[in-house]
Subunit: 346 residues, 2 copies
Amino acid sequence: MTDQMRRIALASRPSGAPVPENFRLETADVPVPGDNEVLVRVHYMSLDPYMRGRMDDAKSYAAPVPIGGTMEAGAVGEVIASNSPAFKPGDFAFGMFGWATHGVAKANLLRKVDPAQVPVTTSLGVLGMPGFTGWYGLTDIGKPKAGETLVVAAATGPVGSMVGQVGKALGLRVVGVAGGADKCKLAVETFGFDACLDHRAYGTAGELRTALAAECPKGIDIYFENVGGKVLGAVIPLMNPHGRIPICGMISWYNAGGLGAGASDQDITAPGLWRNILVKFLSVQGFIISNHFNRFPEFIAQMAPKVASGEIAYVEDIAEGLENAPAAFMAMLKGGNMGKQIVKLI
Amino acid sequence: MTDQMRRIALASRPSGAPVPENFRLETADVPVPGDNEVLVRVHYMSLDPYMRGRMDDAKSYAAPVPIGGTMEAGAVGEVIASNSPAFKPGDFAFGMFGWATHGVAKANLLRKVDPAQVPVTTSLGVLGMPGFTGWYGLTDIGKPKAGETLVVAAATGPVGSMVGQVGKALGLRVVGVAGGADKCKLAVETFGFDACLDHRAYGTAGELRTALAAECPKGIDIYFENVGGKVLGAVIPLMNPHGRIPICGMISWYNAGGLGAGASDQDITAPGLWRNILVKFLSVQGFIISNHFNRFPEFIAQMAPKVASGEIAYVEDIAEGLENAPAAFMAMLKGGNMGKQIVKLI
């Protein structure tokens, strides 16, 4: 009998927030690696907001997961069979194995991870795609200068916490926005933000704006956006001339029938937004980190030692068991996680 | 008795579109030039959409014209007295003399214009601020590449016609949008656009979008924006990944109680806009040309010979007499002009 693995397939497309019925736990044969391929037993898989987009069949920068297909995810685990000289059993590797206990991939699509340097979970968060997104987006698109003011949405997430820490290291005033007093405490005490505002404590974008203005007495030069909605409405009017807005996500809208439908905040009607862009010479730039992986080695070279030394902090929220991945994912989309959301599989 | 000059002052701030009562024709003493100053008898003054913004007291990138102050304008005329070695009577100079028959300015704020090279009116349009805006915005912010598709709003205006001609010279497919069949004919026949659509012929942004899509079979890589409203709503969903949107104005909104209030086109609600920016990695950048005058000598060196040779075409719409400036200005804001709007004063 062939060895069995487990995976979670997309059973149906969600309408709004995902529900348990959108996911289906399945068993399958463990795949056999072909030429130059490696078989990995996954230890930890990543849960990220972008996966919500893959559940829709709307046109986007990536193809949707097909109905019946395995949910997409980055994951890290132990090599248990290898047909590549680049990996041997016992090595740890990161790859796009999906929501699954096992995966096979071409060796050249895998990244070796050394557990002796940093915990392998860091390859999913602080030293993985989210941390890289924050580092790249802030430094390359945000173009930070010492003394400027940076506002970071989703401040305690794996992207935002990297943005904030890099910003502090570069001499910026860094103000976070997060959902909950506990997250704000974490942003200030663990990640070193100068201040953090709980957007749930403010009923409207206007009220949040007033509070934000008090924490940003010199205005806002960079807004690192990955939330949208009320936070966006609060921030835009406070932007300084020549401000920069890197955008890598809009989690507050992901469940609204697909990104782009049904946001209700009237504070940013388009004319108000464009007026701000125009009269303050704002630079607004969307990006997806997969277009910039040529910079990944530079990121790792710069940040891995700082993570190993503790200079860069990270917080992980680890759920247990593949069968609990859907619940952890649904909770994360509502902001229920504290730090980088991971699922431990073994 | 001191010599008299005439000027047009801002009598009151408009609510919506300017009306004749917002302007007041006055006489005053011709000013006497001080040290290093030059007195100019204005021959031609420029009318530009940005002046509408100066009539409001909303916070913007420039101070509003005070009530009772002379309306702002660039103008070109003959030096009639000079306390500067840089200018002598008979020279022609461009300066910010306002809506007035005479003006005094420091010599270092004036630009000498040589009528032997090109008509002095070109200093107001094709070789002045508008042409420079188009040249700079397209080349520096639009980052055009041969083979790409460029859409230009207000195609026959002094900004848009420069954008389109520079785009054609760089090997782009250039599609204009203008208000009226006569303007579209001008865009294609005089300025060499590949196609031009009359936005007035389409009731909604969606209808305009369908027509635009047919003219842009490979999508839109650069949208040169200075209109807003329906055209913006039509264009945004057609943008290609990594598209660029330089923004230097939003004339369709200038009269809506100040830029930013009351645009009615629901096609660009903010989430739809942000979704496009995000998933297509768009770069949206506001700019004002006065921040980039260090590039002006380069612009002139490159473009003045092409204007003199006729390689770069320009069209001017010349009203006669200072007293007719308000009517010409009000008509221009409604798109009534054909080409660069100028007022001849002498």
